[in-house]
Symmetry: C2
Subunit: 335 residues, 2 copies
Amino acid sequence: MRVIVVGFGVVGQSFAKLLLSRSADLYSKYGIKPRIVACVDNDGSAVAPAGLDLQRLLDAKKTKGTVGAYERGGKFSPLQVIESVEAEVVLECTPTNLNDGEPGTSHIITAMRTGKHVISVNKGPLALAFPSLIELANYNGVMLRFSGTVGGGTPILEFAKRCLKGDRITSFKGILNGTTNYILSKMEEGLTYESALQDASKKGYAEANPSLDVDGFDAAAKLVIMANWVMGMKVTMKDVKRTGITKVTVTDVKKAAQRGNAIKLIAACDSRQLDVTPSEVAKTDPICVNGTLNAVTFSSEHSGQQTIIGRGAGGMETASAVLRDLIEIRDTTFS
Amino acid sequence: MRVIVVGFGVVGQSFAKLLLSRSADLYSKYGIKPRIVACVDNDGSAVAPAGLDLQRLLDAKKTKGTVGAYERGGKFSPLQVIESVEAEVVLECTPTNLNDGEPGTSHIITAMRTGKHVISVNKGPLALAFPSLIELANYNGVMLRFSGTVGGGTPILEFAKRCLKGDRITSFKGILNGTTNYILSKMEEGLTYESALQDASKKGYAEANPSLDVDGFDAAAKLVIMANWVMGMKVTMKDVKRTGITKVTVTDVKKAAQRGNAIKLIAACDSRQLDVTPSEVAKTDPICVNGTLNAVTFSSEHSGQQTIIGRGAGGMETASAVLRDLIEIRDTTFS
């Protein structure tokens, strides 16, 4: 399978490393031999129809800051590469933009228009336009997959879709943002909101602009993706009632603790309503996890409640989700 | 699809109820129309090639104690029914016997020999002879599925097999027996082992002979099934190093609590060794669940650690696992 990688940050590079380390294993186990035939970042592009040398691609990025430094690299734009290079799959991993979804949305649309399947780890386009992107994928007869957008390497979307087959999920709720969960966990240990946020930044968990996390945008984006995919709703970011954690005080946290509870930023969907809001959760509830962990509880009609817990981020973890998507696309379309 | 139900206890009856309540939905959503064409319990049998009337079947069992009371019911034995009635699938739900696996093993072997797929919720045959049963299924070109044997309605086996596709699970550990977990949770609240066991019996969580639970046999059986299915090991009950919870004292539990830990009956597999033994687990570990919950943490090579939590038992929950198996058999063999 020929893959075009658009955006070459942590996830893109981890995916290249994963392919490097597992090529023999992937072929023997799944009969798949993914080749990255093009890679493009902000400053340049590298194209090789027979497959890029991934070690040299990673070296170019590391030493020169752009894949354009790859031998015979060039200055093609993402859209030019997506349109003109022959490939089966486009992997979209440019940064999430929850204002207008760009440039990810244009990349995805161009890929689908030119008959390419899309794997997105970029939440923006999906959070803002899930229903229309799925429609476009169907219209063009291609697949759109996005396992890495929710839960990092934790297969939350697959779990809901595959493992509970034959049942009907009636609602779900969860901790979908590791940064805010880290901050709230630290506040439980006694830190103020401000020092907890600082600590999270120092550890690299919080972005330069923390609003995406602490105002609940990231959790809301994931909630939207899940509501569409798991519950078949047709919703976007504007349908989410969203409250962040900036107004949670140490006193709130302490009072909750006295009741045997913890305050968590809970994203919830009950098939009618989408909410992201700080909520008290019993410490004995499986969903009540600490640190940067994510957790989701699904309620289904017949098989009860199930909770799935794992790290919600990590380059290699998310790259492994991309690989799962790739295998699924192969299994669905080439068999 | 025509199904023969062997054993008509809680799970068998729940499965019949599930089909009754969902027949329209199952057909519209999955294109499957399961018909129970024969049902046999200890005292009788009911056979109807066009499909039994499930409400009358349930009524016969309820009022007369046997499906033999169904109109034109008979006295055929399970083996006679399995051999002579035409069907695609045999659902084996007689009680688990971890001594010699009977009568379940004979039922399963006869079903496969006569070309029928098997869904087993009976752990005995699988715990004692997993490798040879799988071989026999392959030899006869039929499928053997057993989602309901581990985790009740919680799709632990599917999770490992499907959701982590493309990755390699290197080890797993978990709480696989709800009864012992209930007892240990109660001991944490201050009850002695004996009163906790009594409480569990009163609530219907423990069997008349509690050895299956408290000596770790049930957890070991599930561990064997998982090790074979998830890790590709070829092991049986005798490969498990097993210690029960009968020697855990309130003092042990208290000391653990002082260290921020809890004592849990942990079943663990690291691709070389199978252990069931009471172990100290940090209370902050996602696996540290209370009451009758089950929890399993999978460690995989690339996507990190993931934990799945849910009720490990329940008639309707387990019936929903049977339904998942049925849909999988249909999807695999009829497409």
